[in-house]
């Protein structure tokens, strides 16, 4: 059993805007590209060109359909990675101390040197946010790009997670939830940011901005305020036109 810190100085995490995410998977491969090259073992792909390719990804985009009682069905794109929970069951379940939550910033990491690949943490995570790398036999998860966000070899503006830097629609935001004035705290307050499955009691840090209401345009009849006919027939229309042109 591994302990969690009572508190962390910062609570770094992501806000993901489900009203804006178009499901392009840019964050998925930017994450893969950075993290296979950096923290820990590479993110291997087993059977890479075969029948059942299975690779380690730290971030995946799922798509769901929602069928409202009335009106058209909707498609929701839902990116999912580790939510860096305050009460992270993946840490407390770890028998070797490999999984831990950083006291400085709350990032949940796996010390691969201490990981024996037992998989208990993946079993304990209610979000399915951990994947065992089948090649290296170690547990893989989102690092919040801990090797980018403080990286002094990178320009300051690039010190954000790879998924945030690459997101074409700007649907991903990175910041400190412990700071009420941070971009992520403000977005969460303004747009009603939601915790994922709060009933699990894991106190996730990441927040999701819900999709705005859709398909709200009311049908209108011929008396629509702006569609009042100026004429019914071409002749009448040209009469209207002549008067309108006089006014120009």
């Amino acid at each position: 059993m591994t302990a969690l810190p009572d508190s962390t100085d910062k609570k770094l995490g992501l806000v993901i805007d489900l009203d804006t995410c178009v499901g392009c998977h840019a964050c998925v491969t930017a994450c893969k590209g950075w993290n296979t090259q950096n923290y820990g073992a590479p993110l291997a792909d087993m059977d890479a060109y075969g029948a059942e390719p299975v690779g380690s990804f730290l971030n995946r985009v799922h798509a769901f359909e929602v069928q409202p009682e009335a009106g058209a069905a909707q498609t929701i794109h839902f990116p999912k990675s580790c939510l860096h929970c305050d009460d992270a069951p993946c840490v407390t379940v770890c028998p070797t101390g490999a999984s831990y939550k950083r006291v400085e910033d709350g990032i949940v990491l796996v010390n691969e040197d201490a990981c024996m690949g037992c998989g208990l943490c993946a079993w304990a995570c209610p979000y399915g946010a951990r994947e065992l790398d089948q090649d290296a036999g170690v547990m893989k998860k989102c690092t919040l790009c801990v090797d980018r966000i403080y990286n002094e070899t990178l320009p300051e503006e690039d010190r954000v997670p790879a998924c945030v830097r690459t997101c074409p629609a700007g649907a991903r935001h990175f910041g400190d939830f412990a700071d009420p004035e941070s971009n992520v705290s403000k977005l969460t307050a303004e747009r009603g940011g939601m915790a994922l499955m709060p009933e699990q009691g894991t106190q996730p840090v990441n927040r999701y901005l819900p999709p705005r209401p859709k398909d709200t345009m009311e049908e209108v009849d011929v008396l629509a305020p702006l569609l009042k006919p100026v004429a019914e027939e071409p002749k009448g229309f040209l009469g209207w036109l002549d008067k309108a042109l006089e006014k120009l």
Partner: protein
């Protein structure tokens, strides 16, 4: 800095006293391992241009130990401003792909078997020269040279022109020529590469026929801007995926009816007078006068002065005057009767047509699958935002009549569309209808609307006409592709038959501005209009996902005549990867990947400009190939010299351009104009943008600048570009054209009327009798809509079937890479709820899908957010066994399938003894999306593979490794 405070309500961990907690914390802190927070990302960053799709974003390629370590977006680049899509970030899997070809290949087995031997470049180029030199000397038209997703068309067309064959084009004919040509013929520019929504000012954005693609990052970035401001997005698309998933309003239109829906919006707005009369008066041909005398040779043509300039009725002087006079006062309702001949304004024709109740929402609702009240609601919203949320930018500018304007008026309604509305037989007219709607609202080239990107706008008159006169041993008489102004520009031989193998610019499809790549193989196979000798293709997967009737095309490529020789005698193909088409070549010229080559993304070609800036870019070899491969364009420089092509040899006959990089630097297209517009040499030796002499340091300047050059549009030139002299003068300075070229938007497409006139019996060039009625009906100079259901036997085949590429693979030549295939490795047929329930489908089921042309048996999946009469699948996920270095049991090769098997290049027989092309009768655009099918539950095939299944082709590169561990350094 705010400190973390433990929130109330977080339970302490069970069974632990505070002291224990503190101890645990201490232990934990001690065990928190030290990690390197500042690892070195790379030894060096090399900045070049992505080629994972057609977007051409700037990328930072991080190098470590001489190898590619990581790819990210270039923040300074005008296209992507730092972001990068799923393909771009997976480029590293492309550079290392096991499917990369390794050396030139000569076929040793039967065509289609995939059996090759590796040969040297000298042997390959000697062979190609031996095949091509006699063709050029005797009958250059017997070479058909077509390129697919290539982006060096100004270069490849230059080569083909020098060779002398009329048979050259790229892939636009089966992609989206209707959108491109519809835009050019209507407003001198089109969506995507030639223009973009004003993402910074639009308050209402309407998106037609685009869910995932065209273009990639800029649309997502733009949607992000709109969403951040809370602007409204309306998505018109039968499929609610991608961009339509985030649309605030989704209009799940019935495929092929967009034109009818748009013209109904036009009807509503016109009837309510919610149109921009000032804009129509000053910037469009709406006030131009049209000859109304049915007996005249000029019936339906625009009245012009002796110099050919259009005339309008002047409201004040009460006489016809040239449209561009400084003090002219055009009358939208003008009529002039001269010597008994009546002339009426274009606008009057529009009023008469579109006020008709045929276009009333109630009349079109059922056909479009959109309630009449919803059509009115959208029209109402367009009117509200365009006219009640109009705004001004405080910026003076001067129009082409010399009038100074204090402000730039804005109408914040922007629109974008692509293949979904264009890949129909009625697509050209639908695209024109959409532009007509934009123009009536006054939202083109104004703040908040749709904006052109330099070097556009450019009217039809500033574009070339097609050329097709070939003679042995000589170059062609001009550029192959262009914009016809009338029958006089058709590419016909003296006997009236088509001059081109694809029959582009013939009476069958007179305005086929991008050629008809999809007809090349079937026409060559049939020897119609003539036989060819060598088919030479680049990046075009014609034996698989880039052809209609894929199985038929495979047979055409391997069919032999009675003499035992192949009907298409020789096939040369260039590709970087082991694609399905490789197996059908006699000679394979292996290309490099995009990080191993020179390229230019040129203003002469398909530019990467933004509305606020002209830009071009390069690729350069950031890594050297580790295989015996060469960039295709460099190979053409060599081959051109071996063939002695003018432009490719020096006066002494020696090779003019050592490679493509040399060509990019030193080629001169017009005086002072070359492939790249940055850092040219001025007369005083200084470096300058726009015009100038070649600069031997030019490529290095691009490399030093991050791979691109950008020139900002001056503030006074940012909007109203077609009529704005500040823009026109700047465009001349930059070399986009040689003299200012202001013009009017053409709601009335006069070239189309000229074809109608021919069909009515006027003029020397006359269409064949069997095409006369169709030309008269379809070449209407004002947008019309017609139903394509009957010709696709819609009564027997009630369901629409569509394809689209997913965002993570859109336009991606090498999408079959280890990472992306894990995202999109399967493509079930997505079935809407109604059809799902009618057939009693369950997950895991299979369906037989039948079209007038053929049938497939494929896996199905349920999708609710889908037009109720439409099924669809992802295109080009399905692969042929043995291709792309995949194992033969890869899901792409077993479950994956193509809808292409259901689509024929010809329409079903009508019983008139003729076979009509399955394409737009105006442009020849392949009508992929007119496909109609029947669907029924079917037993799972045994083995459980999508049908038709094809035998494996031998892989010239073997298969990929079992485990992929990407990490360097």
């Amino acid at each position: 800095m705010a400190r973390f405070c433990r929130r109330a309500g977080v339970p302490a961990r069970a069974g632990m006293h505070p002291q224990q907690e503190e101890a645990e914390r201490s232990r934990m802190t001690q065990h928190q391992p030290a990690i390197d927070l500042s690892p070195r990302t790379s030894d060096e960053i090399r900045k070049t241009t992505c080629y994972m799709c057609a977007c051409r974003c700037g990328i930072n390629v991080h190098m470590k130990d001489g190898k590619v370590a990581y790819i990210e977006g270039n923040r300074d680049h005008p296209v992507n401003q730092g972001v990068l899509c799923a393909k771009g970030s997976s480029g590293i899997m492309q550079v290392n792909a096991p499917s990369r070809l390794r050396a030139p290949l000569k076929r040793v087995g039967p065509r289609g078997s995939g059996q090759f031997e590796e040969i040297s470049w000298e042997e390959a180029l000697t062979l190609a020269t031996d095949w091509l030199a006699p063709i050029r000397a005797e009958a250059p038209e017997k070479l058909a040279f077509f390129t697919g997703r290539d982006q060096s068309q100004s270069f490849t067309s230059f080569w083909a022109q020098a060779f002398g064959t009329p048979n050259y084009a790229a892939h636009g004919g089966f992609c989206s020529v209707n959108m491109a040509a519809g835009g050019i013929y209507t407003m001198g520019g089109a969506f995507w590469e030639f223009g973009q929504p004003d993402w910074d000012h639009a308050k209402l954005f309407m998106l037609f026929g685009v869910a995932e693609d065209h273009d990639s990052n800029p649309i997502k970035m733009g949607l992000g801007k709109l969403k951040a401001r809370g602007a409204k997005v309306i998505g018109v698309n039968p499929i609610r995926s991608g961009y339509n998933a985030v649309a605030d309003e989704w209009i799940g239109i019935t495929p092929g009816t967009d034109g009818l829906f748009i013209l109904s919006l036009v009807h509503c707005l016109l009837k309510a007078g919610k149109i921009d009369l000032e804009y129509l008066t000053w910037y469009t041909d709406a006030p131009c006068l049209v000859n109304c005398d049915e007996s005249s040779d000029e019936y339906g043509l625009i009245l012009r002065d002796e110099e050919g300039r259009a005339l309008v009725w002047d409201r004040i002087e009460r006489r016809p005057r040239c449209y561009d006079k400084p003090d002219v006062c055009p009358d939208l309702g003008g009529t002039w009767v001269n010597e008994g001949i009546e002339h009426r304004s274009v606008f009057q024709f529009m009023v008469e047509r579109y006020l008709s109740e045929d276009y009333a929402p109630e009349a079109v609702a059922e056909r479009c699958g959109i309630p009449a009240g919803k059509i009115r609601a959208i029209a109402n919203e367009l009117a509200r935002v365009a006219f009640e949320e109009a705004f001004e930018i405080q910026q003076e500018w001067t129009d082409f009549r010399g009038k100074k304007h204090k402000v730039m008026k804005g109408r914040p309604v922007a629109m974008h569309a692509m293949r979904g509305i264009s890949a129909h037989a009625n697509g050209f007219q639908t695209c024109r209808a959409l532009h007509t709607l934009q123009i009536l609202l006054g939202t083109v080239e104004v703040p908040g609307g749709f904006r052109f990107k330099p070097p556009y706008p450019k009217p039809v008159e500033a574009h070339p006409t097609p050329h097709c006169k070939s003679q042995p041993g000589h170059p062609l008489d001009g550029p192959h592709l262009g914009f016809v102004r009338g029958p006089e520009h058709l590419a016909l031989k003296e006997d009236g038959t088509p001059a081109r193998i694809d029959k582009a610019f013939s009476w069958e499809n007179p305005m086929s501005a991008h050629g008809l790549m999809h007809m090349v193989i079937s026409n060559a196979h049939a020897g119609d209009p003539y036989k060819i000798d060598t088919l030479f293709m680049y990046m075009a997967n014609m034996s698989w996902n880039s052809s209609m009737n894929t199985k038929g095309v495979m047979e055409m490529l391997t069919d032999k005549g009675e003499d035992g020789e192949y009907l298409i005698p020789r096939i040369i193909y260039s590709d970087a990867y082991s694609s399905e088409m490789v197996a059908y070549a006699d000679l394979v010229l292996p290309d490099t990947t995009y990080l191993e080559r020179h390229d230019c993304i040129s203003l002469l070609d398909r530019p990467i400009c933004e509305a606020d800036g002209a830009a071009d870019a390069i690729r350069w070899p950031v890594v050297e190939p580790d295989r015996d491969v060469r960039g295709f364009q460099s190979v053409l420089c060599d081959l051109g010299a071996r063939l002695g092509l003018p432009g490719f040899v020096n006066e002494d006959g020696s090779q003019k351009y050592a490679d493509y990089g040399d060509y990019i630097t030193n080629h001169i297209r017009r005086p002072g104009i070359g492939p790249l517009f940055g850092w040219r040499k001025g007369e005083d030796g200084s470096e300058q943008p726009g015009r100038g002499a070649p600069n031997p340091e030019q490529l290095q300047r691009y490399i030093d600048n991050g791979g691109f050059h950008l020139q900002h549009v001056p503030d006074a030139a940012r909007y109203y570009k077609p009529w704005n002299m500040d823009y026109q003068d700047w465009a001349v300075k930059m070399g986009f054209y040689d003299v200012p070229h202001p013009y009017l938007f053409t709601l009335y497409c006069e070239p189309m009327r000229k074809f109608q006139l021919a069909a009515e019996g006027h003029g020397e060039r006359q269409p064949p009798e069997h095409l006369r009625a169709r030309i008269k009906a379809t070449m209407d100079p004002l947008p019309i809509w017609w139903d394509t259901v009957e010709e696709n036997r819609g009564a027997e085949f009630p369901v629409h079937a569509l394809t689209q590429r997913p965002m993570a693979m859109y336009h991606s030549w090498g999408s079959q890479n280890a990472w992306l295939r894990q995202i999109h490795g399967r493509n079930p047929l997505y079935v809407p709820t109604k059809i799902w329930e009618e057939n009693g489908f369950a997950e895991g089921d299979w369906a037989r899908v039948t079209s007038p042309h053929g049938e497939i048996v494929v896996p199905v999946a349920h999708m609710a957010a889908l037009n109720e009469n439409t099924v669809w699948t992802w295109n080009a996920i399905g692969k042929r066994k043995g291709a792309w270095a995949l194992e033969e049991d890869a899901p792409e090769a077993t479950k994956g399938f193509l809808l292409n098997h259901l689509i024929h290049e010809l329409l079903p027989e009508k019983g008139d003894g003729l076979r009509w092309s399955n394409s737009d009768p105006i442009t020849g655009q392949a009508a992929w999306f007119d496909l109609r099918v029947r669907i029924e539950k079917a037993p799972a095939p045994d083995p459980a593979e999508s049908q038709p299944a094809f035998g494996p082709i031998a892989s010239p590169v073997g298969h990929g490794p079992k485990v992929n561990r990407q990490k360097v350094g």
